[in-house]
């Protein structure tokens, strides 16, 4: 069972690596860059919001922290190869994780509600700080990064590959988590935290670890974005809409699965960019997002992938029951978090 999933992962990586070589148009590569960005962030959010069941509403704050960190480091720098910001990404990730650690310690002591409150307030504090700490961030005047010295013909490629690498890293982490003790702990926390603690699961440690890793990755994506934009402003670098987007994407594709967030990102990000462009004055932009969110939560709460999985499993059971001649007395897809399927989700 392990071989096919590794094979599938290999196919995915191969496709990611070779797609740009088809001589794609600039606008399409640009679109892919954004899709990869959101796919990575959604997958990272999934670790905390999907597996552990703690819906963080403040990830956009760490996105901004990553963006401003890289902006600060390269403030008056002159770039030579242009790859310097990419090389410093791990440092940015550490900064993000480092800041996330105490936040997690304070806010995850309590229940998910208060966690959401703290994270959303954190988001606004980061934005306020970005506005007020002039000397560091440039305040409302924004912060400039050096222009990437990549030739116009292949401008998007370095960003594409760096983000693809980040996505593969995140998905690899997710995959490893799902198959490890940490993953089991996270799932048990989501199912029933008190019981998990009673059984001896180091709930606090696991939660904080998941959060720190998740926000560290998000910070790295923020740094890449900042470099791509060349100029960042507080209200866009720290934007609640970014949080909404990644939560929505993860929910759409399926929380707690490996491929769910990626699928959600592909659908939503490309859809949103193309629709906003094609349809001109899309007045209903926010309304569509909100309605989509509500529809997904109410009608498809587990997201696309798990729902497909459930339907197929049900059909399989019915077929087996029919074959055995017994009445198909199967319950509707279980509402309880299906531990085995979540661990096996996206893999074999």
């Amino acid at each position: 069972m392990r071989l096919p999933s590794v094979l599938r992962g290999g196919v995915f990586v191969a496709v990611l690596v070779t797609v740009p070589m088809f001589g794609l148009q600039h606008w399409f590569l640009n679109l892919l860059v954004f899709v990869l960005m959101y796919a990575t962030m959604s997958s990272a959010w999934n670790l905390v919001g999907g597996f552990a069941g703690y819906p963080s509403l403040g990830h956009a704050g760490f996105f901004g922290i990553g963006a401003y960190t890289i902006a600060l480091i390269f403030k008056d720098h002159v770039l030579t190869t242009g790859y310097e910001p990419f090389l410093l990404l791990p440092l940015v990730g550490l900064v993000g994780g480092f800041i996330g650690w105490p936040i997690a310690l304070i806010s995850m002591r309590t229940r998910a509600d208060v966690f959401a409150i703290v994270t959303i307030t954190f988001l606004f504090v980061v934005q306020t700080l970005a506005f007020n700490l002039h000397d560091l961030t440039g305040g409302s005047q924004g912060a400039a990064l050096p222009i990437p010295p990549f030739p116009a013909a292949t401008f998007e490629l370095p960003f594409y590959y760096v983000l693809a690498a980040l996505l593969i890293l995140t998905m690899g982490l997710t995959f490893a988590t799902m198959r490890s003790k940490v993953g089991l702990s996270l799932v048990s926390i989501r199912a029933d935290e008190d019981k998990a603690r009673g059984v001896g699961v180091p709930t606090m440690g696991v939660k904080v670890l998941a959060f720190s890793v998740s926000v560290g990755i998000t910070a790295m994506v923020g740094a890449v974005w900042a470099y791509y934009q060349s100029f960042i402003y507080p209200q866009f670098a720290v934007d609640p809409l970014v949080t909404i987007a990644i939560v929505l994407m993860t929910f759409l594709g399926g929380r707690g699965t490996l491929w769910g967030p990626v699928l959600g990102a592909v659908i939503l990000e490309s859809g949103q960019q193309l629709l906003t462009y094609q349809l001109g004055a899309v007045q209903l932009y926010l309304i569509v997002y909100a309605l989509l969110f509500l529809v997904i939560i109410l009608l498809l709460p587990r997201g696309i992938l798990p729902t497909i999985q459930d339907r197929l499993r049900l059909r399989r059971r019915r077929r087996r029951a029919d074959a055995a001649g017994a009445p198909p007395g199967d319950p509707t897809p279980s509402s309880e978090p299906d531990t085995a399927s979540m661990l096996g989700g996206g893999a074999s």
Binding site: R109, T110, A112, T121, N132, Q283, L284, I287, L298
Partner: protein, 292 residues
Amino acid sequence: MHALIQGVILGILTGGVYALMASGQTLIFGIMKVVNLAQGAMVIMAAYLSYQLFTRFGVDPFLAIPITTVLMFAFGVGVELLFLRPLRREDKSELSLLVTFAVALLIEGVLSVTWGTTYRSINASYANSSWTLWGYQITVVRLWAFVLSLVALGLLFWLLNRTRFGRAVRATVQNPQSARLLGVEAQWVSALGFGLGAATAAAAGSVYGLLYPFYPGSHYDLISRLLSIVVLGGLGSVGGAVVAGVIVSTSSAIVAATISPAWSEMTFFVILILVLLIRPQGLFGNVDRGAI
């Protein structure tokens, strides 16, 4: 010193308004264990309703409150029935957060489409007048807002303590199982409770519109303040929300007057963190309810 006292006066007067907004929020949590991230959006929505009544029909915002209260109450009940009721029990606490967040966005989107994104404000004729008392300036609007908040809170207290509905609500807050055994219909309490929370937003909205310019995106600032207040007061305690509203608002005003306006925004967050570190259940919250 003068600036400090002026700041305190301002803080207390504004605190009444925030207390009113926060009381609805904490009430909803107390009844349904739902953190309503749409509370700020509902206040803004009420502000727009009040603005429309004022500019189209010339209705004074204070007098518009009975109208907007009814509208918002109906809206709140509708939201609960449509979006919160269908959530399954296990996922409720996690998903209700996201559902109310989505409702907040929906409200923001509809407001943007209907009224556009320019700032609006309700410019009643008395908007600029002020009194001076012992050298301290007291704006008429703010004073009336404070009085109104007290009246509304008084009504809320009366409702919760002296009516059958109120008793049912408090019973549900304290102990849902027993309440159900005693015949309290939890479903109805939820719907009406959410409606009540929305109704408090109505009064707050009229006042907000008089005091500050607003646009559809104003709810973000508002909700983060409200959440800090509610946590400080103790999730579920209306009295706590009132006290906390005044405390937080006054602290923020003092910081603005003495340090700088830029940092007064941070006051909310600093207080939130301090509360979580020192006394997570807030001033009047219950530890054993698992509120925190």
